[in-house]
Structure formats: C-alpha cells, structure tokens
C-alpha cells in the first residue's frame, strides 16, 4: 500500500508543493514592503560617477550614467531575489567572506589609545617573569676541552686545592672572566646549557664540570647579584608592544567566546 502511494504522481505533486510552501514559511518570506523599495540616492550616483571617472578620466554622459544606474538596479533586484531564495545559504565563499568580515570588525574594536603608565605597570606586575632582570654574574672560567667527567672532576679537585688554572686551560676564544653578565649575555657566548648551570654553583670556589656545546669548563663564580624586577622606564617600548599584542589577541579570543557561549555545540565522538 505504502509502496503504491510512493509511486503515485499526485502524491509527488502535492509533496512538492508542500515543500515549496514549507520553504517560504521557514525562510520567513513574510513580505516586508521595504524589501521592494529600491532608491538610488545622490550618494549612489556620486559613487557611480566617481568610479566611471577613475576609469575613463572623464565624467559619464547622461546616457552612460543612466546605463550605470540601470545596471545598479538590476544587480540589486537579483541580489534581493537571491536572498529571498536563500541562495546565500550553504555557499562556502559567502560563508568564508562573512567570517572574514566579522573577524575584521572584532579586530577593529581592539584598536585603541596609547596605554597609560599605570596600565603598563599593571601589565608588568602581572607578568613578573617576562621582564625580570636576570641575576648578574661575575665569574671566571677555564675551558677543559672535550673530556669526560672523571678527568674534569680530577682537574677541578686540583684547582680547589690551589693549582693554577692556566695549567689546565685549553685555548678557546671565549672570555676567561665576565663581570656583571646577564643570563642572556652568557648564553650568547657560551650557549644556553652553560648559562643554565651557573645558578647552582657555589660562589667563591672552582666548581663544575659545567658542560657546553664546546665541551666542559671549570667555573668559579665570584659574585652573584640576584635578579630583580625591571623598571618600566628601562623596558617601556617592549612592554608597550607586548601589551598591545596581548590585548589584541585577548580581545579576539573574548569576542569569540562571547559568541560561543550562546551556542550549544555538540560533536560526534566528543564528550
């Protein structure tokens, strides 16, 4: 019985009509009279004229202008009819285009005035690690070569018992001593690995072996002044740039989560 009904042309026809009705009902084509008003005002005509002038380097004749206006009207009519038919839906180009526009509008909103010192200071206080001045080291080092830990420990033992460092120093074009050097300055010359090990060394005595990309070193830290927070004046430009960049990123994120919170989102397979 059901199978027979499905093959019935009249049912096809009625079903189709129902679908069309449902479409217009669902897309809310409850005709707003304003939708059928097209007015080309002075600004539109000025814009059309200006476009023409840029191209032809002269004003359009009346006939040419009428042509442009008619074209504008035709375009607008087809545009609106297309919207009525829902042709803007499920179009990947339009979808991507509107996405880009929204992102633009949101990033526009983040452009604002120069931050005050108080704002920058607060930003610094919130990110103490980022602007902390590294501890400063005074240290001497000798390069022991590409030798193993046992041999290095033996040399360091002799150094602590008073042997002269130059007996063991292998030549390498790195400073034998640095004063008030920051972590970054040390890393620049000796590499990150070396710089990271200084923190743990006991001041005043030869210690190590401290390894670097070059090999191993014996190091005597003679002074260490602890790291501290930077003053705004010293790092103002960087702080201001970071503040701007972070603020833009944050506002973008905020805008998205504001929209997102209004949606109920479910993904198959995702809890």
């Amino acid at each position: 019985m059901l199978r027979k009904l499905i093959r019935e042309p009249l049912i096809h026809f009625l079903g189709g009509a129902l679908l069309i009705f449902a479409f217009f009902w669902a897309t809310g084509s409850d005709r707003d009279p304003a939708d059928y008003v097209i007015s080309i005002d002075e600004t539109d005509i000025d814009r059309l004229t200006a476009d023409w002038k840029r191209n032809f380097r002269r004003a359009p004749t009346q006939e040419e202008l009428d042509g442009l206006i008619d074209q504008e009207i035709t375009e607008e009519i087809y545009y609106r009819e297309a919207l009525r038919l829902g042709l803007d839906k499920n179009d990947p180009v339009i979808r991507r285009r509107l996405f880009t526009k929204m992102r633009f509008i949101d990033s526009e909103a983040t452009e604002d005035l120069a931050p005050t010192d108080a704002q920058l200071q607060r930003w610094m206080d919130d990110h103490p690690g980022k602007y902390a001045l590294s501890p400063l080291y005074d240290f001497e080092q000798i390069y022991l070569g590409q030798i193993g830990n046992a041999a290095a420990n033996d040399i360091i033992g002799q150094l602590t018992r008073g042997s002269r460092p130059d007996r063991f120093a292998q030549p390498l074009s790195l400073p034998a001593a640095l004063t008030r050097a920051s972590g970054a300055e040390i890393a620049r010359q000796f590499g990150d690995q070396f710089a990271a090990q200084l923190q743990a060394l006991e001041p005043g005595t030869w210690s190590g072996p401290v390894s670097s990309g070059f090999g191993v070193h014996a190091v005597r830290v003679t002074a260490r002044s602890p790291g501290k927070a930077a003053a705004l004046a010293d790092v103002r430009q960087r702080v201001s740039n970071d503040w701007h960049a972070a603020r833009q990123a944050e506002q973008k994120k905020k805008a998205l989560s504001r929209y997102r919170s209004q949606y109920e989102i479910s993904v198959a397979g995702r809890p």
Partner: protein, 629 residues
C-alpha cells in the same frame, strides 16, 4: 572597467583595515654607545616575507609584520597552520622584504567585497578560489608566479600608478609597525622591500634595505619591477632616494642560482656589453650578495669548480631550470649564476674597466614566506605556509608552482642567516658594516668567524687575533694593496656555535688573474680538527672528517670535530702582479638535514635521493688584493 575595479576593491578592503598608532621608537639611535671596533657579531635575516607579499598570502600566510618582528626578537607566535613557533635564540635584526609588486594585493583581492569584482572575471575567479579553500589559494599563487614570469598578469595588478594609493597606505602602516619594534641597542627593525624582476622566469631579484626610518624616508614608496625589470632603473631609484632625502639604501641580489646566468652577466639588461658607468653604479649600490637561502645555495657549482669536493652544497633541485622552471639552464650559463665565479669575473672587469661590479660581501638569509625567520634544521618552518611543520608530507611533495618540472620539498634548505660585525645593534651600525662588507653568510648555525689580512702579521699574532687583526690589518670585506712583493698574510678563526655542531675545517678560497688574463681559483685547507691524524694529501685534499650522524636519532658527536680553529696563513702561490681575492669557508662536521627530523617526527621513510646528511657552513666576505699602480 577592469582597472578601476581592482583599485576600488583594494581601497574598499583598506577602509576596513584600521591603522594602529605608534607608541615606540623613532629614527634615533643616539643613546646607544658604539664600541671602538666591532666586538660582537649580530645575527639577522634580511629577507623575510609576510602576508603583504602577494605570493606569501596566496600560499596561505596570515601572519603580519608585527608577528614577524615578535618572532624574530624571540617571542612565541602561532604559525598560520597552527603550530607554536619560537626561535631557539632571538635574532638581533630583521629586514621585512615584501615583494614591492602588487604589495598587499592578494590580501586585498581576497578581502575585497565580492560585488566590487563582479564584472572582472579575472580577479573574481581568483577571489572565489582564494576564499573557497587553501588549495584554491595555492592555485592562485601558482598562476600569479606563472603570470608574472610570462607577463600575462592583468594591468590592474601590474600598473604601479593604479596601486599607488593602496601601497602608500599600506607602507605608512608598515613603517609604524617597524618603528614600534626597532629598539636601538637591543633589536633592530629595518625598512625594506624586495624588487622582483623575473624576465622569462630568470631571477634578477634584489632585497632593498634602508639605513633610515620612515620619518626620514618621507613619501618614498617601494620600487616595483613591474615598472621596469632593468636593475639599472632600481639603482636610479636608489640614487634619487639618497639625493632627495640624504638617506642611505643598498640592494642585495639573491638566488643568482636560478637566474639562468643573468645575475652576474657580462652584459646589461638590454644585452649590450657593460660599461664603466654600469660597473661603478652597481659597485656603489650592491655591496653584498645573499649567497645562501631556502631556495638553494649560490656559492659554487661542481661544473665550475670540479676540484672543489664541497661545491655542490644546496645545488640539487635548483641548477636544472630557472626560477619559474620555464627554461632549462645549460651548464654554460652557470658562470653568471654562482658567486665565486662572479668574484672572478669582478677581477677581470677590474683589469678591463678599472672598477669591480661584483665586489660582493656575503650574507645568508631565509627568504621565508611564512613570516617566520627560521634556519635551524630541527626547527624549520618551511618556505611557505603550505609546507609548515604540521604538513607531514612536506619533504616529499612536489613544489612545481604550476610549472612543468619537479622540485621537491626536500630541495629547500633550512638556510641561512646574515652575520654582521658591527659596533652596535642599531640601523646605522649594521647598515654601515654591510656597506664595508664586514659580514658573512651561514647556512643557519651561528659560528663566529674572524678573518683579517695584512702584510705585517706574524704567526704569533693569533694569540691576540682580534686586536692585532684590527691594529695591523683589514677585516673581511677589506682591501690590500702594496706589500713590496711579499705575499699577504691572514689571521683566521672560527668558533663553533655552542648550540650546533663542532667544526671540520677552515678553507681559504683564492681567485686570481693569471698571466694570460684568465681567472683561476684554488682551495686551501688551512686548519682542521684532529690535525695529528688527518693529513693533507699531495693534491692538497684532506682526509674527510668522520661521519658521526645517527639517522635513527637525529644526533651527532661533537667530539669528532673541533670546538674552535685558529690559524695564521700566508699565500704560498702569490704573484704580486696579479689581482686576487681570498675568502674563508668554514665547514661543520656532518649533521642531519631537516627532512631527517621530519622523518623521525612523522615516522616517514625517506627515499634514497633525499639528502639526509650535510656539512653546514659559513662563507666570509673576501679580502681583495690589488697590485700597486
């Protein structure tokens, strides 16, 4: 109609984009103290593309100049395809060098209101392709590069007059960002652009960089190759800039390897033989050359230097056809494509004309189109956003760009950086060091290379090499003359990069003009690791350094090389009557290439032809010897 639509579209896109105000730096570096002589080497990239380059954007890059600057100075950023990106060590300076032609245009086409393009089929098609998918965007870029090579791009893209307004807006905004991130003494951000002439697909590209900030540059706009493909026109633009503003600007040729013999040709753009005026202008405008970068290495080629067993580095994939791969390059063209040969031609021209158009210092740079200046093998973000590290197949994918012949991802080098011996980290000091060529190139590792020449050095002078070097001699990039017939002497040192590999050897490469007027070259091994076991053969060749690379782990053993090499060297084959140059090549021990790290990360099996082990290197600027008149 087509032309005006493009302009309208671009303007419309721009009105949406606001401008951020400038809170930071200006033109002044007055507070920074310069050292007496260059004590420190500064590392940078002079050749980086952001989303303002038409091809970079087309390849999908969505990172702007600000992201590029933040990344270069050591911040973490998120790459276009989502990977977190951070340099192992910050750079000291950066030149953002976006293509001047149609700067910002792909961005504008994509972001333009579609209705503004409706009657322009050409641009509309691109607009839709770009908006539809990443693949579409890639196809547009291929068509763009192809169209530029064949000269078939629409005039709305190629006519500088039509894009003037858009460029001026964009350039002003760019200048603000660059100034904002220029921190004299800490990080230097340069103004610059890339001039991109490509006649028949032959690469004649130059990076143009300014010593000055936007304030002094005034209303100077980037010069486009679509205006003229003749580099002499660019030099004219540079001359006019210096005259009008009192500023300074230099140009850096690059990718001579895909110029089909035209970058260092013995004739002008129009085919006529080069003359004194050309030679003098070029010498003035182009003091340095970019010798190594992602699209291959241009130092030397085995065809030109059959006795150099290291000449083939970075040549694979780049020596068969020109940039667009629309023309094959016969080996006979190589002499105009590789820098060593250009240096030799320069000597010949010195004799013939009395000036040297190819008196180049050497730097490396990335030419990255991802806004990310990476050159480390284990942290390589690719040539363009289509081959960022999230793409597991990037090493093996063809990179045809819509042309007919195969280049593959693995042909790209994770290279290189510019090393500059300057007296401070400022626009002025770095630019001036480039003008005097006190610079060198590396393929990525940051080894420290010193090279001094003099007639007065002694072997003992290596003890205090830098001080004696400056005191009694000239540094790399300098000139020697006179000497009363005595052979020039050199102090050379190379310190390994503590974050990279130890050193195999230092070589001196000499070029000279023989008695018959022909240029010659010879390579001297002058210092090497394990000198007690590795000996020179009768042919001057050295036992190769052991290969310690473990491909299954991506590691190597630094104990197989030297942490530092220092030497005094005097030319044993010197003839005081013959013009000559000397430059230094430093080789690291063998290490894995970037595809090896990809293979480990993604469990790939790399085909046999993929180069997996290489010796990274540094090239110093030469020191030239000229007989006294």
């Amino acid at each position: 109609m087509r032309k005006s639509l493009m302009v309208a579209a671009c303007m419309a896109a721009l009105t949406i984009a606001g401008c951020s105000e400038n809170t930071g730096g200006d033109d002044s570096s007055a507070d920074v103290v310069n050292t007496e002589y260059p004590e420190q080497v500064f590392w940078g990239d002079t050749h980086l593309h952001t989303d303002n380059s038409i091809d970079a954007f087309g390849f999908g890059n969505r990172l702007d100049a600000e992201a590029a600057l933040r990344f270069a100075r050591g911040e973490e950023v998120t790459a276009t395809k989502g990977a977190k990106a951070k340099l192992s060590r910050p750079l000291d300076f950066l030149v953002i060098a976006d293509h001047s032609d149609a700067m910002g245009a792909t961005k504008a086409i994509m972001e333009a209101p579609r209705i503004a393009l409706l009657t322009n089929d050409f641009l509309l098609r691109w607009h839709d392709m770009m908006n539809e998918s990443d693949e579409g965007s890639l196809r547009v870029t291929s068509e763009l590069i192809d169209g530029a090579a064949k000269g078939t791009l629409p005039s709305s893209l190629t006519d500088p007059e039509q894009s003037r307004e858009r460029t001026a807006d964009l350039w002003t905004k760019h200048g603000k960002t660059v100034d904002q991130y220029n921190e004299p003494g800490k990080f230097t951000a340069f103004m610059g652009f890339e001039y991109t002439p490509m006649p028949d697909g032959d690469n004649l590209h130059r990076v143009v960089m300014f010593r000055d900030g936007p304030k002094k540059m005034g209303d100077t706009l980037p010069y486009g190759a679509l205006g003229s493909q003749d580099p002499e026109k660019l030099w004219g633009y540079m001359g006019a800039y210096e005259k009008n503003t009192g500023g300074k600007v230099l140009a850096i040729p690059h990718n001579s390897n895909v110029s089909n013999g035209r970058m260092f040709a013995m004739n002008k753009y129009d085919g006529s033989p080069i003359d004194a005026a050309y030679v003098k202008t070029r010498a003035l405008r182009e003091p340095i050359v970019e010798v190594t970068q992602i699209k291959g290495d241009s130092e030397a080629h085995p065809f030109l230097s059959p006795n150099d067993e290291f000449a083939g580095f970075g040549d694979a994939g780049w020596d068969k056809c020109n940039l667009s791969c629309t023309k094959n390059m016969p080996p006979e063209s190589y002499a105009g494509s590789y820098v060593r040969e250009a240096l030799k031609r320069g000597l010949e021209l010195t004799l013939a004309i009395g000036a040297n158009p190819f008196k180049f210092g050497m730097i490396g740079s990335t030419d990255s189109h991802t806004s990310l200046a990476t050159a480390d093998e284990n942290n390589f973000f690719g040539k363009h956003s289509g081959n960022e590290p999230t793409n597991s197949q990037r090493a093996l994918e063809p990179q045809n760009l819509g042309t007919r012949e195969g280049r593959f991802g693995w042909h790209y080098l994770s290279s290189g950086y510019a090393a500059v011996w300057a007296t401070s980290n400022t626009r002025e000091a770095i630019f001036d060091a480039m003008m005097r060529r006190e610079v060198y190139a590396t393929t990525g590792p940051r080894m420290q290379v010193r090279f001094f020449g003099s007639f007065d050095f002694t072997a003992e002078d290596t003890a205090d090499l830098v001080k004696t070097g400056y005191g009694k001699g000239v540094p790399m990039g300098g000139d020697l003359s006179g000497g009363d017939g005595e052979a020039p002497k050199f102090l050379i040192s190379a310190l390994m990069d503590p974050e990279s590999a130890s050193l195999d050897r230092i070589q001196v490469i000499k070029g000279w003009i023989d008695a018959s007027g022909k240029s010659q070259e010879k390579i001297y091994n002058v210092s090497w690791s394990d000198a007690d076991t590795r000996k020179l053969g009768a042919d001057g060749k050295l036992t190769p350094v052991p290969n310690s690379v473990d491909l299954a782990k991506g590691t190597w053993d630094n104990a197989t090389g030297a942490p530092e090499l220092v030497t005094f060297w005097q030319d044993p084959d010197f003839n005081a009557a013959q013009n000559a140059f000397y430059y230094v090549r430093v080789l690291e021990i063998p290490t894995p290439t970037w595809p090896v790290y990809d293979a480990l990360k993604f469990s790939l099996t790399l085909p046999k032809e993929v180069i997996k082990i290489q010796q990274e290197r540094a090239y110093s600027s030469p020191i030239w010897y000229t007989p006294s008149a």
